[in-house]
C-alpha cells in the first residue's frame, strides 16, 4: 500500500514534500501523464517563454524524489479510481492500491472547436511541452494572433511584442480581462498593450481559421486577419472526469470540505480541480492559482498524517507583463468602493477595493508594498482619508475596531 497522488503538477509536488515534512514514511507514488517531474507553471508564460531562465523551472530537483522515497511515474495516465477497493488503474491495466489518494489532476486548456481549428500553427499554452513548441515557432517579424485576452494570453502578448513579433489579441468580450478584473484595470492593460504596439481587438469573436495544412488567416465574421501562428488562451476546464466516473461528488470541480476531503473516504483533492469552501470569503470557490494548489496540498498532507488542519486563505495571484508586475489579493468584484493610490501614468499604482469600509481586494501594479499590505490587512476597516496617498503606508490607516 502507498499514498497515491494522481497528477504530477504543483499540488502533487507540494503534497509529497509536505507528507515527508509531516513525518510520513509510507511509500508515495505520483502518477503523472506529462513526461516531466513537477515544474512551475507560472514561469511558462513569463520568464521561460521570454528565455530568461533565472528561476529554476522544476520545483524540486529530481534527486529529491529518489532521496525521499517518492516514486515518480511520469508518462503514466491514471484511468480509473475504485473507491471501494481503494485502487487506481493506470494505462495498460496495472492496478495500484492506495491507503490514501490525492486527486491533483489540475485543469486543461479549453479547446476551440471551429472551422479550421485542427490546422497546424495553432497552439495552446498549458504544459512545458506546449511552451517549447510555441518557443520554436516564435520569431521576430512573424505575425502572431492571440485568441483570448486573459492573463495568460496577455503575458504571451507581452513576450511576443518584446521579441519583435507582430501581435494581435482578439477578445470576444467588450474588454480584455473581463472575467477577472474591473473595467478600469482592463482599460489600463488595454492601453499598456496598445501603446507598445499590440493590436487589441475587443468584441471580436473568432469564427474560424484558414490555411492549407498550416494556419494563415484567422476569421472573425467578415474580417480576416493574417497569421503565421495562433495561440489560444480561452480558459481552462478542471480535470474532474476521473473523480466523477468514480462516483465522487463534483460541482464545478471536485467537491471538497475545508480539510480537502472529497465525498469518498481516504480520497482528497487539491488545486485547480478542487472546489472548496472558503471561510474567509464565506463561499465556495474553485481557484486556478499556485498558492491555492500549494496550500491545499499542505492541508491534505497534514490531514493524512492525522493532524487537524483546515484551509482558510485569502486568494492571491500575480501576472507579469512587460516590466509591470501585477499582484492581486482578494476579488475586486467583492468591493463597493475603489480607491486608486499612486500614479497610473507612471505604471506604479494600486487600486484598493473596500466593502462597507473594510479592505476586500487590492490590485497592485509595481507596488508590492500595497500587495503585502493587502494580504496583511484583508478585512480590516481603513481610514478613507489618506487612502489615496501612496506615501502613507496602509498599516497606518487601519481604524481600531
Amino acid at each position: 500500500m502507498a499514498i497515491v497522488i494522481i497528477g504530477a503538477g504543483q499540488a502533487a509536488g507540494q503534497a509529497a514534500a509536505s507528507l515527508r515534512q509531516e513525518g510520513s514514511d509510507e511509500e508515495i507514488i505520483i502518477l503523472g501523464d506529462e513526461p516531466h517531474i513537477p515544474y512551475s507553471r507560472p514561469l511558462l508564460s513569463k520568464e521561460y517563454l521570454a528565455g530568461h531562465e533565472s528561476a529554476r523551472l522544476y520545483l524540486r530537483a529530481e534527486k529529491f524524489y529518489t532521496d525521499k522515497n517518492v516514486t515518480m511515474r511520469t508518462n503514466t495516465r491514471a484511468e480509473k479510481i475504485d473507491t471501494a477497493a481503494k485502487t487506481v488503474t493506470i494505462e495498460g491495466g496495472e492496478v495500484i492500491e492506495y491507503s490514501n489518494l490525492l486527486i491533483a489532476t489540475g485543469s486543461r486548456a479549453r479547446i476551440l472547436n471551429i472551422k479550421g481549428s485542427d490546422l497546424g500553427g495553432i497552439f495552446y499554452l498549458r504544459t512545458l511541452d506546449d511552451v517549447d513548441a510555441i518557443k520554436d515557432a516564435m520569431a521576430p517579424g512573424k505575425k502572431v494572433v492571440i485568441v483570448g485576452g486573459g492573463y495568460i494570453g496577455l503575458e504571451v502578448a507581452s513576450v511576443a511584442q518584446t521579441n519583435g513579433m507582430d501581435v494581435t489579441v482578439l477578445e470576444a468580450a467588450d474588454r480584455i480581462l473581463q472575467r477577472v478584473t474591473t473595467p478600469e484595470m482592463s482599460a489600463f492593460y488595454d492601453n499598456l498593450h496598445t501603446s507598445r504596439g499590440v493590436k487589441v481587438l475587443t468584441n471580436t469573436g473568432v469564427s474560424g481559421f484558414e490555411g492549407e495544412g498550416t494556419v494563415t488567416h484567422v476569421c472573425c465574421g467578415d474580417a480576416s486577419i493574417e497569421a503565421d501562428m495562433v495561440i489560444v488562451g480561452i480558459g481552462i476546464i478542471a480535470n474532474t472526469e476521473l473523480a466523477s466516473e468514480a462516483g465522487i461528488e463534483c460541482d464545478n470541480g471536485i467537491t471538497v470540505d475545508e480539510r480537502c476531503r472529497t465525498s469518498a473516504e481516504h480520497v482528497y483533492a487539491a488545486g485547480d480541480c478542487a472546489n472548496h469552501p472558503n471561510p474567509i470569503l464565506g463561499r465556495r470557490l474553485r481557484l486556478e492559482s499556485v498558492p491555492n494548489a500549494a496550500d491545499q496540498a499542505r492541508v491534505v498532507a497534514a490531514n493524512i498524517m492525522g493532524k487537524d488542519k483546515t484551509y482558510a486563505a485569502v486568494p492571491w495571484f500575480w501576472s507579469d507583463q512587460y516590466d509591470l508586475k501585477l499582484q492581486m489579493v482578494g476579488f475586486s468584484a467583492d468591493g463597493d468602493t475603489q480607491v486608486v493610490r499612486g500614479d497610473k501614468s507612471e505604471n506604479k499604482f494600486s487600486v484598493l477595493y473596500l466593502k462597507d469600509g473594510a479592505l476586500v481586494a487590492v490590485d497592485a501594479v509595481n507596488c508590492p508594498a500595497d500587495f503585502m499590505g493587502g494580504k496583511a490587512l484583508y478585512g480590516k476597516k481603513l481610514n478613507q482619508d489618506g487612502l489615496s496617498n501612496p506615501d502613507i503606508p496602509l498599516k497606518d490607516l487601519v481604524l481600531s475596531e
Binding site: L43, W318, K375
Partner: protein
C-alpha cells in the same frame, strides 16, 4: 556543491548541500527546510522565502535588489540582513553560509 546552514527560529539546524547556479530558496525546498513556502517559484512575487543572513555573510550575498526591498518594506519582522532567498544565487564564495529563518513568513 556549497554547504549552507538554515537555522530555524527555535534553533534547530538544517545543513544542506546546495547546487551552484540554483538559489538558496531552491536549496531549502529540495531539502525540506521547514518554513520556506516559496509559493511563486522564485519570481520575487510572494515574499514567502524570507531569511536573515548571518551578518558576516550578508555582504557576500550581494545585497537586496529593488523588487525585494519593495516587497519586504511592510514586513514587521524585517531586519538589516533580511533577504528573500530566491534572490540569492548559490556560488562557491558561499561555502558555509548561515541563514536564520523568521518565526513566521508574512
Amino acid at each position: 556543491m556549497t554547504k549552507i546552514t538554515f537555522v530555524k527560529h527555535d534553533g534547530e539546524k538544517f545543513e544542506v548541500d546546495a547546487e551552484n547556479g540554483t538559489s538558496v530558496m531552491n536549496a531549502a525546498v529540495d531539502n525540506l527546510v521547514p518554513g520556506i513556502d516559496a509559493d511563486c517559484g522564485g519570481e520575487c512575487a510572494c515574499a514567502t522565502c524570507h531569511v536573515y543572513v548571518d551578518e558576516t555573510w550578508f555582504p557576500k550575498t550581494g545585497g537586496t535588489n529593488d523588487a525585494e526591498e519593495a516587497i519586504m518594506s511592510l514586513n514587521p519582522d524585517r531586519q538589516e540582513t533580511s533577504r528573500l532567498c530566491c534572490q540569492v544565487p548559490v556560488t562557491d564564495e558561499m561555502e558555509g553560509l548561515v541563514v536564520r529563518l523568521p518565526e513566521f513568513q508574512f
